[in-house]
């Protein structure tokens, strides 16, 4: 898939209430390009509820259901059941895709039990978590997705805990499709959504969404910060299907040794929320701690890749 082949149709209309350089509207626009008009969108309380704009106008040119914070999985299951019934009655000519769009607060903290329940029932919908690593809509409070040492209004000296990994929790549920995506790799994101559309069952896609006001960087740097997250190894791009995890785009290039992994410092320096690590004096300990974590993850990934290559060389297995 090339950028030139992306469909021209816009389902997210200009003149909406999103901030300048909003990652959520950018991600939703690309996702809807991939899924097409035949989509039922359920928006869980987040910035996306706001950027639809006030009544009587809306910026979304497709059916939207606004739901409460904890109901991501339940809404998806309900819509999927309704679609199933209406398909049997012959109301739809073509099966619509059910898309649940939630932020990291509605996924990591408040919505995880309904999401877990829906994943266990393997209800037929795509769940997207656009992860801006804080409750940005209410003024940047800490969430379960906030990374170590990041500033939020209630972790002023930097968060003391590490973030949890809900994508891996969803992998553990054994659902048909789990993927992580980044705004800086639009073709990769587009392909993941197209692939998810072709699968039935619960599909989970997580998109890293660098939020200019919440992460404190200029609004033009949204894509740059998203790219740095992948290039420094703090955000892994992969998809998990039929029990096999495949690393894609930037992360794959690093693991295969085709690109150099940048030091985490470059990613941290690009954002104001990590400023206390560099000013008034450098906090070597915490920067090194973050770097060590990433190094450990990539050591394992690179080792696994080399091992696989080695076994393939010996046994002449066909590449998978």
């Amino acid at each position: 898939m090339r950028i030139k082949d992306f469909p021209e149709e816009e389902l997210l209309l200009p003149g909406n209430a999103a901030c300048q350089g909003c990652p959520s509207s950018m991600a939703l626009r690309l996702a809807l390009k991939a899924l097409g008009r035949n989509t039922l969108l359920a928006v869980i309380a987040s910035c996306t509820s706001v950027l639809q704009s006030p009544f009587p106008a809306t910026a979304f040119d497709l059916p939207v259901l606004n739901m409460a914070f904890a109901t991501g999985g339940a809404t998806g299951s309900g819509l999927a059941a309704a679609v199933e019934r209406l398909m049997k009655k012959g109301v739809y000519r073509e099966r619509p895709t059910v898309l649940v769009w939630a932020g990291d607060g509605g996924t990591y903290d408040i919505g995880i039990q309904s999401l877990s329940g829906a994943a266990e029932r393997n209800a037929d919908f795509i769940y997207v978590c656009y992860n801006n690593e804080a409750y940005s809509n209410t003024g940047t409070q800490r969430s379960g997705a906030t990374p170590y040492a990041a500033w939020t209004t209630n972790t002023v000296k930097g968060k003391r805990e590490w973030r949890k990994d809900v994508a891996q929790i969803m992998v553990a549920h054994g659902i048909p499709y789990v993927a992580t995506a980044s705004l800086a790799y639009p073709t990769d994101l587009f392909e993941k959504f197209t692939r998810a559309k072709g699968i039935r069952g619960t599909r989970y896609i997580e998109i890293l969404a660098p939020c200019p006001p919440g992460w404190k960087f200029p609004s033009g740097h949204t894509v740059k910060v998203a790219r740095l997250a992948v290039q420094t190894g703090l955000w892994l791009l992969y998809e998990h299907r039929e029990g096999i995890t495949t690393y894609t785009a930037g992360t794959q290039r690093i693991i295969h040794g085709k690109a150099r992994r940048l030091p985490v410092e470059e990613y941290l320096k690009a954002q104001g929320r990590f400023r206390h690590l560099f000013y008034p004096e450098r906090d070597e300990e915490r920067i090194a701690e973050i770097q060590r974590r990433v190094d450990r993850v990539f050591e394992t990934l690179e080792f696994t890749h080399r091992l696989k290559q080695h076994i393939m060389d010996i046994e002449m297995l066909p590449p998978r």
Binding site: L13, G15, G21, R29, A57, A59, L62, Y92, P186
Partner: protein, 107 residues
């Protein structure tokens, strides 16, 4: 959705069966919102810097079209200045530096 789904309708009431529903009716009589450009007005007034494309340097790679969070850049690379919020992502991401952010005089 085919006609059968539409006739039954979610709004019910005055938006009733079979009749063509106008936008005004939906806006005033039911709680359904109508999709519209500029749903919070001309967001172009938010901007301080305006993107200017230099056609001589542009290679039509369409990266600015893909990355624009507002869907303000068209496929023909014309920027809709009524709604462009001036975030500067297009200028930052342009691989040929063909887009400059120029300080705008207040209108």
């Amino acid at each position: 959705m085919n006609d059968r789904g539409r006739k039954k309708g979610f709004g019910g009431g005055p938006a009733g069966a079979g009749r063509k529903v106008t936008e005004v009716e939906i806006g005033l009589l039911t709680t359904l919102s109508v999709p519209a450009r500029g749903s919070v007005g001309k967001t172009g007034s938010w901007r301080t810097f305006v993107p200017v494309i230099d056609p001589g340097r542009c290679t039509k790679c369409l990266l600015c079209w893909v990355y624009c969070p507002e869907a303000c850049v068209s496929r023909d690379l014309i920027i809709d200045l009524d709604y462009c919020k001036g975030c500067g992502i297009c200028a930052e991401e342009c691989p040929r530096d063909a887009i400059a952010m120029v300080k705008e005089e207040k209108r």
